[in-house]
Subunit: 248 residues, 2 copies
DNA sequence: TTTACTTATTGTATTATATACACTAAGTAG
DNA sequence: CTACTTAGTGTATATAATACAATAAGTAAA
């Protein structure tokens, strides 16, 4: 991955909401926010934030987001989408945020624009990289109070994810390359917090010619093994219908 | 409208793609880019750009976008949506852009983040305000080369508009409050560059209980006057179906 | 080997929506 | 009253949505 030699821009950052699905639930990647060891600030309790960084001069914002995700996961080939930008005055004005900004030598008055990206992957494809700070998966439903305005950013990312998933075949980004139909159904049930009828769900998938059955079955399960499938974006692009599937 | 006393931030701007529909075609609001009169730069030919401005310190980015649109149109109650942010290095590096930036005393090296909004309105509801620069409606299909990276921004706005219109009832934002079904159909035909069957289109609209017939007909037309309708967002919110109208 | 257990897989009937297609109705203008 | 223009409507067929329950294919334990 690109290792920019140029300087970090101080007022443009990207925040990445990295969603990881683990066959049961949707998780989000968080990093611990601490002060550097030599900072004498005993009242600063470490807490958690989304992953993000400022952009290098000379780097595009998408490159910056890709770099952030790559540095933590080692993955660069994933679904990554810019969903919203956060630039309001007051977004970094909580006392704890101000304290942290000062501690790393930033001007806490400076207005920082943060461009939000969300990324999708299957947690089983990832081993988290230690980048000098603790990193963890947290179930989205159990995320507590985050640093900065990151709870807001996470919420907006969830909205964007749900919206996109309603109309584009991106749920596959949360599954391993080979998956079962039950796994696929469960992804949608988890994210939309609902249940579907199995037969009707499969009828629907059946019509989608880009969900392709493989000559392979699940292994190592203590019950009837399920058929494995893969997603083909190529077939999707070729077979998708245009229009009149729209709302007025 | 808010008249900020604070200073303009130099590196955060909003660009507004103001779409106006005029019963025939989709237009976009452009402003002329000139040098101030006392600038001795005879080789700078005026050209056109989208409408935009930097944000005031203390102002949210949505407020800034609302202000920009209000100042040109006098309208503040319209559909306005953040669709994408443009912050790549090199987006303002064309010689003409550099010349212009220098002429207004900006550092042309500074990296400027521009947050893109698009807005919808019916041109007949608007009388353009003279803000010291020429302003005009241009048919989207006839837009030539714009200043800065505004052709790129316009294209992305069109993409966002089409996408949103496929799944949300926002087409009404381009029509006057009372409209005919033919007008509604034409909006969609223009924007998606296609034709629909009149009977099928009306059957579809008929099922949408939030498109409400009024006790009123078109006036002053030299043929059978059409029934007028209105859109009710309230009814829409109450009657919209949840889920399973999704793509896997 | 048999039984219990678990998850995978499948079909039918009903209703709603999509699509293709052409004629009549209600105005104005001359 | 005739010509012109746009508004408004119905039917038949195919596809998709929805509600609903029994059988199949494995493993694990008796």
């Amino acid at each position: 991955m690109l290792e920019a030699v140029s300087q970090l821009n101080t007022y443009i950052s990207v925040d990445c909401v990295v969603f990881g699905y683990d066959a049961e639930k949707l998780n989000v990647l968080l990093v611990e926010r601490t002060l550097s060891d030599d900072e004498p600030m005993p009242d600063f309790q470490p807490d958690w934030t989304l992953t993000g960084n400022h952009v290098y001069e000379g780097e595009t914002i998408k490159e910056a987001a890709t770099r952030v995700v790559f540095n933590l996961t080692g993955i660069s080939d994933l679904y990554l989408e810019q969903f919203k930008t956060f630039a309001d005055p007051g977004r970094l004005l909580k006392p704890k945020d101000q304290k942290w900004l000062r501690s790393i030598g930033k001007n806490p008055e400076e207005r920082v624009v943060s461009i939000g990206y969300f990324a999708l992957l299957a947690t089983q494809d990832v081993s988290l990289k230690w980048m000098g700070r603790r990193v963890k998966w947290t179930p989205v439903k159990k995320v507590g109070q985050l640093g900065f305005d990151h709870n807001e950013i996470l919420e907006q990312a969830m909205d964007a994810l749900r919206n996109k998933m309603k109309h584009e075949p991106i749920g596959f980004g949360l599954l391993p390359e080979k998956f079962t139909l039950t796994q696929l159904q469960t992804v949608y049930e988890q994210i939309f917090d609902t249940r579907f009828d199995k037969r009707n769900f499969r009828k629907k998938v059946n019509r989608m010619k880009y969900v392709i059955p493989l000559n392979e079955k699940q292994k190592g399960v203590p019950h009837k093994p399920a058929q494995l499938y893969m997603f083909s974006r190529e077939v999707f692009e070729k077979t998708k219908k245009e229009l009149f599937d729209f709302v007025i």
